[in-house]
Subunit: 659 residues, 2 copies
């Protein structure tokens, strides 16, 4: 067979292989260490992604590398064969957060995503040849533009063409710069049309959008070419507001004092604008070409971004200023981008079920069962739950706390570089093996790692069902941690920070409170509509755990119900994925409004049964083992040194729907 | 009969008269000199207006004091009988401009003017009781407002409620200030609704609008209560832009230099904002309660107000930036008023037929013949002409110059205090009698006075048909004026300025050029559509001549065609009246768009026949006397010392439609 040369960026490592070789084998031969194949090369885990810079290739299967990732030029190394010399880029471990975010697309509803060229974004770029002026018609420049837009609109613009005064002033010059050839950036406004911007000539680079997930802890965004739907860059960062409070309640209280609401607003803007600038720089595009934004965030975050007083969210009857802010401009909001760029918000349901949930539901339609009831859980600082079918939905929120995002946990961290994302223990608990995002030394443990670790501790008998560490287990890693006990995950000599990585009993209590709040919320919501857990056909889990969620261990802990594994789908950041769909499709924008309007909110705080359920769930997995028959049947309660059978079967990734 | 006491403000003059006495007789008895009854007390001239401050009265007929004037508390002194003690105010001669403007309403189409309480302004004030918030619905403040607005809207606000971010921030506070009672200022935006402002409580003073005529020379506006339609105050002033050029062409040229366009914009704003402040102060209302504006102006004036580059108006193919600017906000434009107030523009037809003409046509429907063709002439610095029926219209513009507004004439002035508005000469021309606006010493001569004077000079044989003063007439008032001749109207001892008032031969040439331009335009337009002057059923004349126009003398000069007097209607400032209608009625706003869209523009500059017609009209009344058979039949050509019969019949006022 002839040979070809594969170069792997950024290391520059080179492999000379036979034409037709699988890329992951070539990468291994070249010493590229960053590629993992936890699924064993079955195209299902989506972790061996490579970006094709140049060269010919053949994909055996596309598997988990679907949708936007495929469009962005990513392939699965385990499924792709080189047909020529190639240059390939290994996703930068320094921007692990990018990978966290892009993975959400693996669950995007492909049918909902318009084909390139058939997108219907909030602002369209229309290339026009504007007819010349004549004395006879007397038409002005704006009127001629409106006439030229009629074919795009499918008829005359009877309500005229709306336009800012500053743009109107520049129209004569812009229209004459290239003999009437212009690119008009236009937005539909009901029965009217708004001219958002006008560029001389036919400008295919005119047309960018940004989809943004505005989380309490994390802000993430996509920079998108609106014509093709291609994601040009993705960036995420901590929400800088976190410096003034980890959760929404703390921030609402903080915002009461004079000047503080504006301070929080500026912190949100600094966060988002920083990401926008980074994304544009990475994509080599101008900020001023961003002509629309879609924002999905919880109700409080949207209030703080817009400077809307949030105090009534916190006081009965818990009323936001609005669940669905009207369309605003980038200038109004303070976002970088074209000043007249349209800013659209995913509509929320109420003070504690925001646009992030509507957007999440929008994005996860494919994961929801067509037949039967689905349960959608967005496990973040607030845990939001939606239950229903396409015909009806109830929703509630519970204060889960940020534990599963790695916050409020001494060794916790976000799922970025340096985060331990998966842990396994030897039967005696003495040997700890783990995966670190970016493959460097660990800095801390992210949500998926915490679920993994606590599950291991439980089934190794090092933690009891009450969440207490058991020195009597004989494991030497159970150590004193101040006035309490802790489990030493990694010693200071091997960590990035130079400090011990210890999971303490208070950390475990935090995790148990979080999972109890969520489980109790789901349980109550099911009862409210007269259903049982068994009747749930599909459980869709969104949240900031990381790149995957070990569903079996999550069941073991009682975070998830004891149902067949095939019913679970982990979707990561579904809010961002929903915002992305809203950016590309008018149908999706109508659908998200329909979804939000169709949800009935249940206030858990006013439900007498909630507290009992919460207390019942403060055990691992639950006070009532009858609720977890599979776990109970393992028979190693209260403790055992041999791992239960369930742990041996493979970890469920987000791609369970493909298996 | 019992007696009653009538007090006349501002002089304080008092009359004790029998109950049932006519006010004008009482006023004469009390020595009130300001009341004129040129129609002889027949309720037709509208010049004996009195404002009723207090007291009971009975109106025999309302005659010319129709519509808005009647609502503003004005009565005709010649038609009103006192039934009790009364306090009456004689309109202040110091604000003669007010009277100039208010008279336009005498020609308003009453059928087009909604009844009080049935107005449909661009922004409506809706008193609401917003339902309280509940946990169950989860509705935000904005959503509850939208719900409360559904009955006003006649159904749910499916497209939501648009709102500025700054207002959105204040909604929680405003909604709770008076337990959910609010006054919402809302604008229809096609299929959506915009919340322009929100006031706590039920606030009937919430709701003001301003209708503005933006003329090249004069700016005039009404401050209007939008619920009742009542005109609260009217103000007018010179357009301060006049300091940088008397006509649109000069100003367009001026605007080419850097910074000059902005300078002109600021001058327009200073003019309008000064009038707004005066009007609000006079009415005791706050500027911030002005929630909408309707603007009618010629195309160039609108460009200069908005800072739109006007240069293409001046160069073939004469294209404005727009004939119909989109709705803007007061903040955008720079107008005093609520920052979010809607600013609507009357749509124009082209660079030289602007929104002032559309508005004028809108306002003068009642004056236009229901049967047959009408000719609408707006005689200002530009003369605009529209010809047609309700089914078709052609329109053109001619550069008339500002002579009939009193500009470009040595002794000319606007029709304000001190202007001679009517002149008569003794047969030998030695004795000059005149009426002065405000009854003080004359400062100059306004358009109506110039028509009157030149007509007198012609028929007394002091001016020949070529516009030359004739020393051989023997009239001692024909004097040297520099290198030319002039007619001494009043000597320096009797003028306000202390200077002679002289009409010079160059002034007469200016007037002749103006009237020739207009007549030639009308003539050509008629020919273009295959009609003759005789086929015109109704001639509607608008312009800044003053409070009336002596139609017979205008025919004598050849400014107007030789048609039966009953076909003429002088309507004064029809543009302002049209803007007023647009402010009160949605139907009128749709109608003005229909009118503008229905007009076909004819460019006189490109018509070869125009110049011949213009030259032919440079005689008094015309080179071709056959066109003016009535005038020709007077038989005193080339000159005569006895006044022709036509002069003896009464002056035609704007109220000819009532006679």
């Amino acid at each position: 067979m002839p040979l070809c040369t594969l170069q792997f960026q950024p290391s520059g490592a080179v492999a000379s292989v036979e034409v037709g070789s699988l890329l992951h084998l070539a990468a291994a031969g070249a010493g590229v260490a960053e590629l993992h194949l936890p699924c064993g090369g079955r195209a299902s885990c989506g972790r061996c992604l490579l970006e094709v810079v140049s060269g010919e290739f053949h994909q055996e299967a596309v598997g988990a590398a679907e949708g936007a990732l495929r469009r962005a030029g990513f392939v699965l190394a385990c499924q792709t064969r080189a047909l020529s010399d190639m240059v390939l880029r290994v996703p930068d471990p320094g921007v692990a957060s990018l990978r966290v975010v892009t993975e959400t697309h693996l669950l995007l509803d492909e049918a909902a995503l318009p084909e390139p060229g058939e997108t219907t974004p909030p602002v369209s770029a229309v290339m026009l040849q504007v007819p010349p002026a004549t004395v006879e018609t007397g038409y002005g420049d704006l009127e001629r533009l409106a006439l030229a837009l009629a074919p795009w609109r499918g008829g005359p613009l009877t309500e005229g063409l709306r336009c800012s005064l500053s743009l109107l002033r520049r129209i004569p010059e812009l229209l004459r710069a290239d003999d009437g050839r212009v690119t008009a950036l236009v937005a539909d406004e009901g029965d009217a049309v708004r001219l958002v911007d006008l560029l001389p000539g036919a400008d295919p680079t005119a047309h960018l959008g940004a989809a943004c997930d505005l989380g309490t802890t994390t802000v993430a965004l996509h920079l998108v070419d609106l014509a093709s739907g291609e994601i040009l860059a993705t960036r995420s960062a901590y929400n800088r507001q976190a410096s003034q409070g980890a959760d929404v309640i703390t921030r609402i209280d903080y915002a009461r004092k004079p000047g503080h609401l504006e301070e929080l607003r500026q912190l949100a803007l600094t966060t988002i604008n920083g990401l926008l600038a980074q994304a544009c720089e990475a994509a080599g595009r101008e900020l001023g070409r961003i002509h629309c934004f879609t924002m999905a965030g919880n109700t409080t975050m949207v209030h703080l971004l817009l400077g809307l007083p949030p105090s009534h969210i916190r006081e009965a009857p818990y009323v936001p200023v609005t669940n669905g802010p009207p369309t605003l401009t980038a200038r109004d909001v303070g976002l970088l981008g074209h000043p007249e760029a349209r800013v659209l918000f995913a509509p929320g349901v109420g003070s504690y079920v925001g646009g992030d949930i509507s957007a999440g539901l929008l994005a996860t339609r494919a994961a929801r069962s067509d037949e039967g009831v689905f349960l959608f859980m967005d496990i973040g600082t607030n845990g939001e739950i939606a239950l229903g079918t396409d015909d009806w939905m109830v929703t509630c929120a519970c204060s889960a706390g940020p534990a599963f995002e790695g916050s409020g946990i001494r060794c916790g961290m976000r799922a970025t570089e340096g985060a331990i994302e998966r842990v396994s223990l030897s039967p005696d608990g003495e040997t700890v093996t783990y995966d670190v995002v970016g493959n460097g030394r660990p800095c801390g443990i992210c949500g998926s790692g915490l679920v993994s670790l606590l599950g291991e501790l439980l089934c190794r008998g090092i933690v009891d069902r009450g969440g207490h560490l058991l020195p009597e287990s004989g494991c030497s890693r159970v150590v004193a941690a101040g006035a309490t006990l802790g489990f030493l995950v990694e010693g200071s000599g091997n960590t990035a920070s130079g400090a011990d990585l210890v999971l303490t009993e208070p950390d475990i209590e935090n995790l148990i409170r979080s999972k109890a709040a969520i489980y109790a919320g789901c349980d109550l919501l099911l009862e409210k509509v007269g259903l049982t857990w068994e009747s749930v056909a599909s459980v869709v889990i969104a949240g900031g755990f990381g790149r995957f969620l070990d569903v079996e261990r999550a069941i073991l802990l009682g975070l998830l119900p004891d149902l067949p594994l095939s019913r679970f789908h982990y979707v990561g950041n579904s809010s961002l994925a929903g915002a992305y769909l809203m950016l590309l499709s008018g149908e999706m924008r109508r659908e998200v409004v329909r979804l939000a309007a169709g949800m009935t909110y249940v206030d858990l705080g006013s439900e007498p049964g909630y507290m009992d359920r919460y207390v019942g769930a403060l055990f691992l997995p639950h006070t009532d083992l009858g609720r977890f028959p599979t776990v109970a049947s393992l028979g190693w309660w209260p403790q055992t040194t041999s791992p239960p059978r369930v742990v041996r079967s493979r970890t469920i990734h987000q791609d369970t729907r493909n298996t």
